[in-house]
Amino acid sequence: MTEPLLDVSNVSLGFRGENGFAHILDGVSLTVKSGEIMGLVGESGCGKTTLARSVLGVLPRNSLEVMGGAVRFQNTDMLDPAYADLQQRIRGSRITFVPQDPFTSFNPVFTIGEQIDDLMKWKSPRRDWNAVSSTPTLLQRYPRSRRAIDREAVIAMLNSVQLPQPERLLQKYPHEVSGGQRQRLMIAMALLPEPELIIADEPTTALDVTIQAQILGLLRRLANERGVAVLLATHDLGAAYEICDRITVMYAGQDVETAPVASFFNVPAHPYTNKLLASVPGLKGEMSGIPGDLPNFYSPPPGCRFAPRCERAQLACEVRPAQTETAADHMVCCFHPVVDHAAAGLVPSGKGQTS
């Protein structure tokens, strides 16, 4: 039994602001194994972006309050401020990031080439991490020998993500390049440091539907080729179905179900998951929503946060359920999971057909 690459265990944290304390993540646990693509699925506001950023360790320090838990990446806790230096090394080289909005994630006043150059200068896999340097950061230079090799790697990678004329592209400014191309660049930049894990935060939300599938397919293919694990945060069930190996569903800052993709869509156990899958518009145009609203993060309900909207809720649900296994490798946090789907009248959707 190998150690998971990423082990998020029981993370509880929130942000303190002018309106009080928003308890964003409550006891979230999940793992990502080496080389697998894990989908982090949930509605807007469920905390998946916060979770993604906590893996990278880039949550705003001023307002952040960690109440418990750890985000372990190969023995380093990315939440613990005591390991700041180590985290800084890991960030951008062992764990990389594909952001949601390619339009605003590039610095507008530098060329693409300059930005990739900086990335390679600091995060290239060929960098000698053991060379201790006393010169201040801004004065450190980019060793010539490495530079040439890195440049070749960059061109090769740009070809892999199917970007035309890489040399010319590098000389352009971000606003001169289309959104789809920019996202391919983001994927390229996420792969260049040869990481073990990529955090992709809704990488296709800002793109045209026609391009979404291409980008996701590209991501999956390249990740698999290189054995890179991906944590893909998305609200698109269809996308998750297409490229993920396992899926974790989040609701209001809690993880509610984790399963391999097939099992997930065939025998969804959590009431929320079932409602979610049912709410995808059917082929005959039938639609069902989920009555009620998201809870208030400033005063969240105790225990299971879905309970107020759940038909199966009972008093026991005021305590957070632990993970129980309903099928092979299929975990649920619920006291009353859906086991007999036919009897409950819930139709497993088979395929999450969003498009």
Binding site: F15, G17, E18, N19, G20, F21, P60, N62, S63, Y298
Partner: protein, 280 residues
């Protein structure tokens, strides 16, 4: 109730509002609040240039009049000039900017070139020219300031209108049959209102400073009207001995402009949701 953290914006707006309201009250109740209300017009040469004392809180000026009382009455002039000058330039400039920004092309270009001409030279220079031409009086100061200030508003509203015009909700309104006028007044104007309000408050402060400068140069109301800027220029020849003579009106100007600046700043913080969101 969650913790109540007072933001800079809220605090600033509150203090600013307090100062402005005080100014207005002082102006209205000057006769009642002044220790020597008659000194607005009267003078007592035997009491010239006395230092601050229990009887004359800010001392006396070169004609022996009580400076404190004159300052209080001067508040009336200050408010009058600020409100009318800014009000007039807003009333003139905003519609011009709206129309120019809405219709764009030639009309827009022409209007903006016109205002560019006015904005090419610092406001005070043109204002001096106009005020000098017409003669020193409060009315002429107001006129000079209004004429040179409206282009600023036209420019501002023009830019905002142009940014809003292509937006979908405008298209929607037009598709529903709204007339141009209706769109401008009911749809565009409310959206730019907060920018205008903030700038108005700050504009009052700027106008007061410019008006004081005109008074300092002798272009404002003539003696014995207690205009703050002119009082400072009077004080010049008696410095450094009669330090109170310049200090009082100068501080009065400072406090009033501070009030408008704080109010404008505070309102900007309150009305702009982008800045509020901060750390998420």
């Amino acid at each position: 109730m969650s913790a109540f953290k007072v933001l800079f914006g809220d605090r600033a707006a509150a203090i600013g509002a307090f100062l402005i309201i005080s100014l207005v009250l002082v102006a209205i109740f000057a006769p009642a609040l002044a220790t020597h209300p008659a000194d607005v017009a009267e003078f007592h040469l035997d009491k010239r240039l006395q230092a601050p004392s229990m009887e004359h809180w800010f001392g006396t000026d070169r004609m022996g009049s009580d400076i404190f009382s004159r300052i209080l009455f001067g508040a009336r002039i200050t408010i009058t000039i600020a409100v009318i000058a800014v009000g007039a330039s807003v009333v003139i400039g905003v519609p011009i900017g709206l129309v120019a920004g809405y219709y764009g092309k030639w009309i827009g270009g022409a209007m903006m070139r016109t205002s560019d001409v006015f904005l090419a030279v610092p406001q005070i220079v043109l204002a001096i020219a106009i005020a000098q031409t017409l003669g020193p009086s409060v009315e002429n100061v107001i006129l000079a300031l209004s004429v040179t200030y409206w282009p600023f508003w036209a420019r501002l509203v023009y830019a905002e209108t142009r940014a809003l015009k292509p937006q979908i909700f405008i298209e929607a309104a037009l598709a529903l049959g709204a007339s141009d006028l209706r769109v401008m007044v009911m749809h565009i104007l409310p959206n730019i209102a907060s920018a205008i309000i903030v700038r108005t408050s700050i504009g009052m402060g700027v106008t007061i400073l410019t008006a004081a400068a005109l008074g300092f140069l002798g272009l404002g109301a003539p003696a014995p009207t207690p205009e703050w800027g002119r009082m400072i220029s009077e004080a010049r020849e008696f410095l450094p001995a009669a330090w109170w003579y310049a200090a009082a009106p100068g501080l009065a100007i400072f406090v009033v402009v501070m009030g408008f600046n704080l109010l404008g700043d505070g309102l900007r913080d309150i009305l702009d949701p982008k800045i509020r969101r901060g750390s998420k």
